[in-house]
């Protein structure tokens, strides 16, 4: 399950942002996952729970925005959503397409809560 190694990278990234913020707790993690990545959101969520147990990230909400596949036709320049992996321009039937969205695998942002008394 490649979601495990992807989530390991995610947790490492999050820990970087937690450094120098003692007492901080991650409440929400926002991800973008494109449909062209073959990454399963459910598997990510499961791995995230397993890997964050007992850490300051435990209990954080993993919010995953699934990004549909979009392409641009190199023949007529129209942009459209690719449904069911059928890569054909709906306007001119062109087959030379450039993928413009759907391969994202990004950490967009995180939300943290900092304990007031730990500050200063």
């Amino acid at each position: 399950m490649h979601e495990m190694s992807i989530t390991t990278n995610l947790v490492e990234l999050l820990n970087k942002y937690l450094q120098g913020r003692p007492g901080a707790r991650v409440t929400t993690v926002n991800l973008k996952v494109g449909k062209l990545t073959a990454v399963e959101p459910d598997a990510l969520t499961f791995c995230f729970q397993v890997l964050t147990e007992g850490t300051s990230i435990e209990g954080a909400q993993l919010q995953i925005e699934l990004v549909p596949v979009r392409a641009r036709c190199l023949q007529c320049q129209s942009c459209f959503e690719v449904e069911g992996f059928y890569f054909r321009c709906p306007r001119c039937s062109g087959k030379e397409l450039e993928t413009i969205a759907g391969d994202e695998l990004d950490l967009v942002s995180l939300e943290i809560e900092e304990d007031e008394k730990d500050k200063g």
């Binding site: 490649h2 990278n9 992996f85 030379e96 397409l97 695998l105 990004d106 950490l107 942002s109 939300e111």
Partner: protein
């Protein structure tokens, strides 16, 4: 509550190393293929056939990723080619750093071609760039002609599709035209070869295409 903007790729570390690998391969003029398939479709067989054909014509090397054993590496090493085994210890895909660590085992200045046998799996390796020129997916006749529909991502991101075990066509209801139609719906530009590593059928076309591509990338001319 505080919101921190990050906007960072989860696999940015892998991507950095893959980019380094790619730069090195370019600089040394090495064509690199990442071979992908389900277990048993014929990755090792195709590599054996290919390196044995290239013997004395091109300098090839092979990296094989195996979950536990070095059986594939042993099969390939019989063909007098440099082969480095990576035992992933259960990991379901190779990553760019594994490939990078394998490179010192080769005389990289002399290489024209590097074939990388990925772990047998059509899902997990998709997200991991190794620095290759092209991904090559192998599907075999007994797996059924609708394989592209089941693993669309891999067929989309591959430049080459090898449909192997065509010697078994008479014993199955595999419809070649359907298989190629499905693959081209997902990836209109995919280059298709129909082969049998057992009888040798169709391999000539593949060898010719490969050699042409290697010489284009490395600047070597036929010896």
């Amino acid at each position: 509550m505080k919101k921190i903007k990050v906007e960072k790729k989860l696999l940015s570390t892998n991507q950095q190393i893959a980019d380094e690998n790619r730069r090195l391969f370019k600089q040394k003029g090495i064509a690199v293929f990442n071979l992908l398939s389900s277990p048993g479709s014929g990755k090792t067989s195709l590599i054996e056939q290919t390196v044995s054909h290239l013997q004395g014509r091109l300098q090839a090397a092979v990296i094989t990723g195996d979950l536990q054993t070095d059986r594939d590496a042993q099969r390939i090493a019989r063909h007098q080619v440099f082969v480095k085994q990576i035992t992933t210890g259960g990991a379901c895909h190779l990553d760019a750093s594994m490939v990078k660590k394998a490179l010192p085992f080769f005389h990289i200045d002399e290489l024209d071609l590097l074939l990388i046998e990925n772990v047998g799996n059509l899902v997990c390796p998709a997200a991991y760039d190794l620095g290759e020129d092209a991904k090559l997916t192998i599907m075999s006749v007994p797996e059924g002609d609708d394989k592209p529909l089941k693993y669309p991502v891999m067929f989309r991101i591959s430049k080459v599709l090898i449909i192997n075990k065509v010697d078994l066509l008479p014993y199955t209801n595999f419809d070649m035209e359907r298989a190629i139609t499905f693959a081209r719906q997902i990836n209109p530009a995919i280059r298709v070869f129909e082969t049998s590593c057992t009888t040798g059928a169709g391999l000539e076309d593949w060898f010719r295409w490969l050699e042409e591509r290697v010489s284009r990338l490395s600047g070597v001319t036929e010896k």
